[in-house]
Symmetry: C2
Subunit: 442 residues, 2 copies
């Protein structure tokens, strides 16, 4: 591949490369590029939003470049230094290491992590802890207060009088110094990281290094169809979710963002996606997306390209536009079986059926009074409702069922002589049964 | 003295003590208080503006408390870390030490500096250099960006779009940590230091120390009658100026601020000052002020009180309201002689006379052409005008004289056969003479 070809290949799907000409120069140099990604050790659960960035990094690896994953343990171990927030306790060294291992394990579904020439894992406390007050002053002097307040979130908070702790202005410097420490050629991030990545350029320059190129990837919208995918908004699809959960969630991607999901998470050609949407409609397209991604993420490592070839290797045909529910011969029989089972389960539930494999919750005998339990309390104990009040509300809307029958009386007392299947909405099921009396301990 | 009496005594002349009740508590504790003053090692020239604060510290010393002078060598040695300003080059260790010695030598005119129980000199690099990035983050987290932007000068610059380098937000933290390092009970400063001194309280609290009390002193207006006294505005009276210069400058204090000078720089009672202004008018009051301060600062160390008693010890009588130009018997004969000579010189010049002792400037022969030199060039070479253009302007206003005669022709060519007395305005004189041909070097 020539430098120009690599440039086009890597540019695909990005929001912006800052600056493009420097990136082309770097590719032309023939150097093995150092491609940086910062990881927050407080949030080790990766979802498909992360996959957008990680897949781009995998492409760099496929071209022989080196990915350096930086675990931000320095700030993680500081926690909230003002002590005001109880939600960000300082992490121990062990916690950051455990989370980093989990992060790498998950990222290993996408990145090549076992080849030292193409992957490295670093902890930024290694170089941030030895930094002195003088170093911090030097870095800070490269920026102005006005520049910091131009950053989207700071600007918003400042305008709305939401306090910004002064130390928050120092965190972009820490991240920028990471780029100095590892000599990053490229830093990857979501488009909301633009400011931080450009600070990295400034600080590298101040230390006499060639500045990195900022590689900005689009943000994947979550299942709500509005917000950026994130765990805290519960609109996410985890990359390590079991096939049935992933398949089900992918079938629920809002129609309006379906094309984005194809664009950002697969390598199907635009024309292929268009044909698919025309021929199969949203339902057919959903099925193809769900099969493609469920199949890809069921592999120990996703394929370099999630494209027509991979789809066909699973035993499906793109032209069938999702109507081929029984797959043909597969190069990955186990994977295809898992995908097909997830699809079958999805279809059974969609038709109002009860799936076979249900989570079970044991109800302790002392939760019953005279052999009965209040229906609201039962659903809450089973974890299907957050509170008795929520359960009552849902019963009014006919949103809760027992053994397939809607509950109508919010004050119903339920006997629990035999296991019951509780259902919330169309597809949340739990089987409840009374706990057996425990045998006396020996 | 009881704690309450000490409180009243020390409160006199302050703008604000924050908070007063804590200060009284500290006095009641009977502890020897640590009274901090930060000194900028880039500006070692002390003037009467500094004296306002230093005299208050001397009062603490007279009561047995300990003054700690902190030389801000940490930031001095950093200079302008952005490298943008050529006016603040980093200082060397030697420069900061030399400036500190000069500072202490001058401050020793006011403070008791030779008693270890009452004076200490510290360099803040001692504790600021070892601070880590983590320490800085901890300190920064105690403040918000909005708080920083409430500081008068930052607010103004931010509003007017004058860039604020981010590191400037860190300097108040450095100064605050000085208070932690020495366990300051009181920090002294001009009223424009209010913000910084209060940051000191926050940071001490964050480190679990009892917070210091901020002692805010009024700002002395300079000889221009408008701006705060400062060397850069050239409206200052240095505390180490020779008696004749100090006397002359004090006679030029604008009438509108004359009472402030008495209030802030002497210990005369308000009633005494009032009587003086009524009886002697501004001229008489000026003479008393000039004699008092010229006398006080001609001593190796100013007296604990610059009051009626000291004035009389110099051989003058307050009731004479400045009309007693020939002093009576003095307890400090040499000092009184110096004051009287300065006054006599002032009077001679005021009457249009030429003083006897003039600075001399040698003009090199090659500055002349055909034995003559252009008058504008001559005044500029003599240092009385900043440029030939300024000289020409002043000649038009009849502001330059040679041997007592106003120069009227701006193109005049001057012969320099004998020494001439050049004069600018009423009281700036220089004697110029041609350099002798240098003897050949051996």
């Amino acid at each position: 591949m020539t430098a120009e070809e690599a440039f086009s290949f890597l540019k695909r799907g990005t929001v912006e490369i800052v600056p493009e000409d420097e990136f082309l120069e770097k590719l032309k140099s023939g150097k093995r590029l150092v491609v940086k990604l910062g990881a927050d050790p407080t949030r080790p659960d990766l979802h498909l939003g992360h996959a957008v960035v990680l897949r781009k990094m995998r492409q760099f690896q496929e071209l022989g470049h080196k990915v350096v994953l930086i675990i931000g343990d320095f700030t993680g171990m500081i926690g909230d230094p003002s002590g005001r927030s109880k939600t960000r306790p300082p992490m121990t060294l062990e916690e950051t290491r455990a989370n980093a291992r989990s992060y790498v394990e998950q990222a290993g579904k996408i990145l090549i992590t076992e080849d030292e020439a193409r992957f490295d894992l670093r902890y930024n406390s290694e170089w941030l802890e030895p930094l002195s007050f003088k170093d911090v002053i030097f870095m800070a002097s490269q920026l102005t207060v006005a520049q910091m307040l131009e950053r989207e979130d700071f600007k918003k908070r400042y305008t709305e009088n939401v306090p910004i702790s002064l130390h928050e202005f120092l965190y972009p410097l820490a991240q920028a110094y990471d780029s100095v420490a590892i000599g990053a050629d490229v830093e990857m991030g979501g488009s909301d990281q633009r400011f931080n990545l450009l600070v990295g350029r400034e600080i590298q320059r101040a230390y006499g290094l060639p500045p990195q190129v900022a590689f900005l990837m689009p943000l994947l919208v979550g299942l709500d169809g509005r917000e950026k995918m994130s765990k805290s908004l519960d609109n996410y699809i985890g990359i390590a979710e079991p096939p049935e959960a992933m398949f089900k969630k992918l079938m629920r991607v809002p129609d309006a963002v379906l094309e984005d999901y194809f664009e950002l998470l697969t390598d199907l050609e635009k024309a292929e996606v268009k044909a698919l949407l025309e021929k199969g409609g949203p339902v057919g397209a959903h099925r193809v997306l769900a099969r493609l991604l469920t199949g890809a993420y069921a592999l120990p490592r996703i394929p370099a390209r999630i494209d027509r070839e991979f789809y066909e290797a699973l035993g499906y045909r793109l032209e069938a536009a999702g109507s081929d529910k029984t797959p043909g011969e597969s190069q990955f029989p186990e994977i295809t079986r898992a995908v097909a089972e997830a699809e079958a389960r999805y279809d059974r539930v969609a038709k109002g059926g009860i799936p076979e494999d249900l989570p079970e919750v044991a109800i302790p005998p002392d939760a019953l009074k005279d052999g009965k339990i209040w229906v609201a309390r039962l659903f809450t104990l089973a974890g299907l409702t957050k509170s008795n009040a929520e359960a009552k509300r849902l019963i009014k809307d006919r949103g809760l069922k027992i053994d397939g029958e809607p509950v109508t009386d919010p004050m119903l007392e339920v006997e629990l002589k035999k296991p019951l299947v509780l259902q919330r909405g169309r597809d949340k099921f739990v089987r409840v049964r009374l706990t057996q009396a425990e045998p006396a301990s020996e």
